[in-house]
């Protein structure tokens, strides 16, 4: 699939912000992660809830080594399984009020599905990075404070695919604009 995206990096000391566009339209729920100087993100405990026969959130991003829980909040049985680059597991079937979890220890995208309800799907991006976040409904993002240096900014979107850009970010730099083509 061919698309064009632009990263507009407005950089004041310590943080990076921008917007992801495709065909001049903002791209919501794109995953952004940065590799570069600084301390890498530590593993967290994340939740992907099963409620109203859907996984919520539909797209998550977690640091490598994180434990992701899948609580069942519906009155029906659910199953959780995944088969992708970063993880392959089957957590089995369980009823309301129970939760099962998995440690995601390989970077990459994982599609999570329910073998009982084919309409349910979610994506978990596992990253080995200094910062990771998702774009908002306007395609915008803003990182935490980061040290100056050269960063590789990577972008993933469910339908648009993946792209990465190397940028040198220093304190006081003027905003930069990046166009991506795939």
């Amino acid at each position: 699939m061919v698309f064009a995206a632009a990263l507009i990096l407005a950089q004041s000391p310590g943080w990076i912000s921008g917007q992801i566009l495709a065909n001049n339209k903002p791209v919501a729920d794109a995953v952004i992660w940065l590799e570069g100087p600084g301390e890498k993100l530590k593993p967290i405990r994340a939740k992907v809830i099963q409620r109203d026969r859907q996984f919520m959130p539909h797209i998550s991003v977690v640091p490598v080594g994180s434990r992701v829980e899948f609580p069942n909040m519906d009155n029906i049985y659910h199953n959780v399984f995944a088969e992708h680059k970063a993880a392959k597991f089957d957590l089995g079937m369980y009823p309301k009020g129970q939760s099962r979890s998995v440690v995601m220890d390989k970077p990459g995208i994982t599609s999570v599905l329910c073998s009982i309800h084919s309409e349910m799907s979610a994506y978990v991006m596992v990253v080995d990075a200094v910062e990771a976040l998702k774009t908002d409904r306007n395609g915008r993002f803003k990182t935490k404070n980061l040290p100056s240096g050269t960063y590789t900014i990577q972008v993933w979107h469910k339908t648009l695919g993946e792209a990465n850009v190397r940028r040198s970010i220093s304190s006081g730099d003027a905003p930069v604009q990046i166009s991506l083509k795939k």
Partner: protein
């Protein structure tokens, strides 16, 4: 790798509003004729706070000139039970909306589409009350409703039908048994019994549902003007399986065998359907089916090619 733990059964205390609009367009043979156009739109709104949930659903089915309130109810949920009042799906067989409607198969099974006593179908909702209780691996449902309701009644004036369902699982199987009893004169002494099983594995899902129905006898006029007798003893069985190729999240293949047998008149009808569903993008699915059968007397239940485009939007 997996860790089993308990989570709070009730939702958080913040008001949570949601909804969805689902629209389908179809081209398929029904009642012996090829029809194309707007199949259905289902609009659902919900509000949830703490243990309470209110839901309103409107279902328009232009393909067959039908529209009605769908699942519209007020529900209270505790840790291991819930009570619902309003329009409910009777807990007979695999009865939830997505079990019936969201699959690679464009049309529902014969046991869901069949007109039963009073012209009612299992696929439609009924005004009444639903009680659910679950403990460990077991789930029990009791539905109380009426046989004299109109499509837009929210609550029954009187209760004269009861359906009960028990369900349990032992991974990778879910098995269930259901029964419907209509003991009053109004409902012509109708009874149904059903057994069902589901087997699921990553990429595979297989289901089978058997239903047996007995009725003392009544006739009614169907929406297309056909006078139908509901008396006698009928049995229905379907078996279907769906397969999602490993690593391909947007494609599903399906195969279904659907049998309807009228024991009283010694006649039967069966169909076999091949299906392919393709997710074009998030919330937009296309499906193509080919159905072998049924015989001539049952052409209202389709046959041949069917195409559907489904758009689903949650908010």
């Amino acid at each position: 790798m997996a860790l089993c733990m308990a989570v709070p059964a009730t939702a958080d205390q913040n008001l949570r509003l949601g909804g969805s609009i689902e629209t389908a367009f179809v081209s398929a043979k029904r009642s012996g004729e090829l029809k194309s156009g707007h199949r259905y739109t289902r609009t659902q709104l919900s509000a949830e706070q703490g243990a309470w949930r209110a839901e309103a659903t409107w279902w328009a089915y232009p393909f067959c000139g039908f529209h009605a309130l769908d699942e519209t109810s007020l529900q209270y949920s505790a840790a291991n039970w819930s009570a619902t009042a309003g329009r409910i799906r009777l807990p007979v067989g695999q009865h939830s909306w997505d079990e019936q409607w969201y699959s690679p198969f464009i049309f529902q099974t014969r046991l869901e589409l069949q007109n039963y006593e009073g012209g009612k179908r299992l696929s439609h909702t009924s005004p009444g009350y639903l009680f659910e209780y679950w403990k460990g691996m077991h789930q029990l449902q009791l539905g109380l409703t009426t046989s004299t309701a109109q499509p837009n009644n929210l609550l029954p004036k009187s209760v004269n039908r009861a359906a009960v369902r028990w369900q349990t699982f032992f991974d990778p199987f879910i098995v269930g048994a259901s029964a419907l009893v209509d003991p009053t004169d109004i409902g012509d002494h109708e009874t149904m019994t059903s057994m069902d099983v589901r087997w699921s594995q990553p990429n595979w899902l297989a289901r089978a549902v058997f239903l047996s129905r007995r009725n003392d006898g009544s006739t009614f006029t169907d929406y297309d003007g056909t006078v139908i007798s509901t008396s006698g003893h009928q049995e229905s069985l379907f078996i279907d399986t769906t397969y999602r190729p490993p690593g391909v999240t947007n494609v599903q293949l399906g195969l279904r065998w659907d049998l309807w047998r009228n024991i009283s008149s010694a006649s039967q009808s069966e169909t076999t359907t091949l299906s392919l569903q393709y997710e074009l993008s998030h919330g937009i699915d296309a499906a193509v089916n080919y159905t072998f059968g049924p015989n001539m007397s049952d052409q209202k239940f389709g046959g041949g090619w069917a195409l559907q485009l489904l758009k689903f939007h949650r908010f």
